[in-house]
Symmetry: C2
Subunit: 81 residues, 2 copies
C-alpha cells in the first residue's frame, strides 16, 4: 500500500525537567537513525514531547512508531527510580 499516512503522538510529563531529559535521550536516537521510510519530526514544548510523522508505507510507519515509543519508555524507565 502507498496511501499517505500522517499523524502525531504527544506525551505530557509531570515536569518540564522530565520532558527535557526524555526528549534529549530520544533525540540522540532520532538523529542517528541511518535511513528513513517515515518522515518524522520530534519536538519538545514545555512538559510535552511530540512526534509528527508522514509515511506512505504502513509497515515502515509501524516500525517507526514502535521505535520511538520504545526509546521513550527506555528513557523514562531510566529516570523512574
Amino acid at each position: 500500500m502507498n496511501e499517505p499516512i500522517e499523524g502525531y503522538i504527544e506525551i505530557e510529563f509531570p515536569t518540564e525537567e522530565v520532558a527535557r531529559v526524555v526528549y534529549e535521550s530520544v533525540r540522540i536516537e532520532h538523529e542517528t537513525v541511518p535511513y528513513r521510510r517515515t518522515r518524522a519530526s520530534f519536538t519538545l514544548n514545555g512538559r510535552k514531547i511530540r512526534l509528527e510523522f508522514k509515511a506512505t508505507d504502513n509497515s515502515a510507519l509501524r516500525g517507526t512508531l514502535n521505535s520511538y515509543l520504545r526509546w521513550i519508555k527506555v528513557a523514562l524507565d531510566s529516570i523512574d527510580l
Copy 2:
C-alpha cells in the same frame, strides 16, 4: 510510566469506495476488541480514515497502534489485486 499520551493517525485513500471498504473491515475488529488499555475512536470521513487515541500506558499504545496498522494493511492487501 503513566504519562498521558494522545494523538491520531490518518490515512487518505484514492477513492471514497476504498476508504469505506477498509473502514468497514477494520471497524469489525475495532468493535470486537475484548478489552482496552487505550481509548481509541475510529472514523471515516470521505477518502480518509482516522484513528484517534488516548493512553496512559506506552506498551498498550504500542500494541494498539500495531493492531490497527496491521488490520488496515490486511484490508488493503485484500483489495489490492
